[in-house]
Structures are given as structure tokens and as C-alpha cells.
Amino acid sequence: MNKNRPVNLDISTIKLPITAYISILHRVSGVILYAVAGILLYMLDASLESAASFAELKESINTPLPQIIIWGSLAALAYHMVAGIRHLIMDCGIGETLEGGQNGAKIAFVVAAILIVLAGVWVW
């Protein structure tokens, strides 16, 4: 094969299908969760250290910035989990066709959106 063939993998010039968006967002949400794990460990540490630090944490997370961070974390978690469950279902041989993959992606987006809204309702 000619190795000098022109290659276009410039994503900004390619029209992406819905399945590409669900895949890219799965990666983005995964990276966010990896970063957020440090914040969650910090909160676990403060919540278990003593009754005083538990109360202090409970007080401090009831302000706008921590609330946005917690909601953002829950949103990433909800999306990543739903997209992951879609993968596991497809591993079982369900929804593996082109149409099935697109329908699965639509369902996953809707379920994730509902969970993200519910997480927002719970935080505020």
C-alpha cells in the first residue's frame, strides 16, 4: 500500500454521526471523573475525620461553587455510567447494527439527560 496517500483525520472537517459524539463525550466525561476523584477523596477525608470537620464540610458545600462542582461531577458520572452500560449491552450482542447503535446512542443521551437534571434538582 502506498504510504504517502493523503489522510484526512481533521475531526473539525468531518461530519460526525451521533455515535461519534457519544463516544467522544464518554472519553471527556472519563477524564473529568479522573480529575474529580481527587476532590471526592478530599471530601471523604473531611467527612470521616471528625464530627467537627463533617459539620464544616456540610456547611461549606452549600455554597454556589461547590454545588456546581458536585453537580458537574454527578453529571459526568451519570453520563459515563449510562454510556458504559450501553457498551456492556452491546457486548451482549444487542444493538450492534448501524441502526441499533444510533438508537442506543439516542436512548443513552435521553437517559443521561434525565439523570443529570435529577442530580441538579437533588443538589439545589
Binding site: 477523596l41 471523604l44 477525608d45 467527612s47 459539620a55 458520572l77 458504559g84
Partner: protein, 122 residues
């Protein structure tokens, strides 16, 4: 390109399996912890620290922590070997990727050790 020696289990099939087992553990742990917090509106320190004093909860938490480490390593390896490539970054790509993976290794090890300290240290 040095890619397969920095993957988790040095075999794609093995990584595939580990990614799924850890995913199921993490999903179960998420449902457990989020469910507990949501179902306990007036959660206090007594109740919360009692929950984490149970050996089973500590082991489940440790399993989740180790799952995060393996799951994140496999996922981030897949992303890094896709984007930190010679085609996208030039000749320094492999060097940059190995540096990035070393940093991620240190962060991941810190998460695991810190988590163990939290779980068994209060």
C-alpha cells in the same frame, strides 16, 4: 511506537476484560453510595462514620478505589495512544506520552494510598 508495553495488561483482550469487570464494580459502588446519601436526607457524622467502619464497606470502597486505578489507566492509555502520536505531535510524541503516563501513574498511586489512609485511618 512504544504503545503495548505501557498498556495495563499488555494484551488488548485482557485490558478489555479488566475494563468491564472494574466498570461493573464501579457502577455497583456508585449506586450503593449515591443511593445511601440520597435515601438519608439528614445524614450525620455518627451514621456516616459507622457506615465506613464496617469491614464490608471498607473492602467495597477499596475494591472501587483499585477499580478506578485500573479503569482510568486503561481508559487514559487509550486516549493518550490516540492523540499523543507521531502523526499529531511529531517525533517527540512517544517521549511526551511516556512522561504523561508517568505523571498519571503518580496521581493514580496517590489516589490509592490516600484512599487506604482515609478508609483505615479514622
Amino acid at each position: 511506537m512504544v504503545t503495548s508495553i505501557t498498556s495495563f495488561g499488555r494484551s488488548g483482550l485482557y485490558d478489555w476484560m479488566v475494563q468491564r469487570i472494574t466498570a461493573v464494580i464501579l457502577a455497583a459502588y456508585t449506586v450503593f453510595i449515591v443511593g445511601y446519601i440520597v435515601c438519608t436526607p439528614d445524614l450525620g457524622y455518627e451514621q456516616w462514620s459507622t457506615l465506613f467502619s464496617y469491614f464490608g464497606v471498607r473492602i467495597f470502597s477499596l475494591a472501587a478505589l483499585l477499580s478506578i486505578a485500573a479503569h482510568a489507566w486503561i481508559g487514559l492509555w487509550a486516549i493518550l495512544t490516540d492523540y499523543l502520536t507521531t502523526r499529531m505531535m511529531g517525533a517527540k510524541a512517544t517521549f511526551l506520552r511516556v512522561i504523561a503516563q508517568m505523571v498519571l501513574g503518580v496521581v493514580t498511586a496517590t489516589y490509592v494510598l490516600w484512599g487506604i489512609e482515609i478508609l483505615w485511618g479514622f
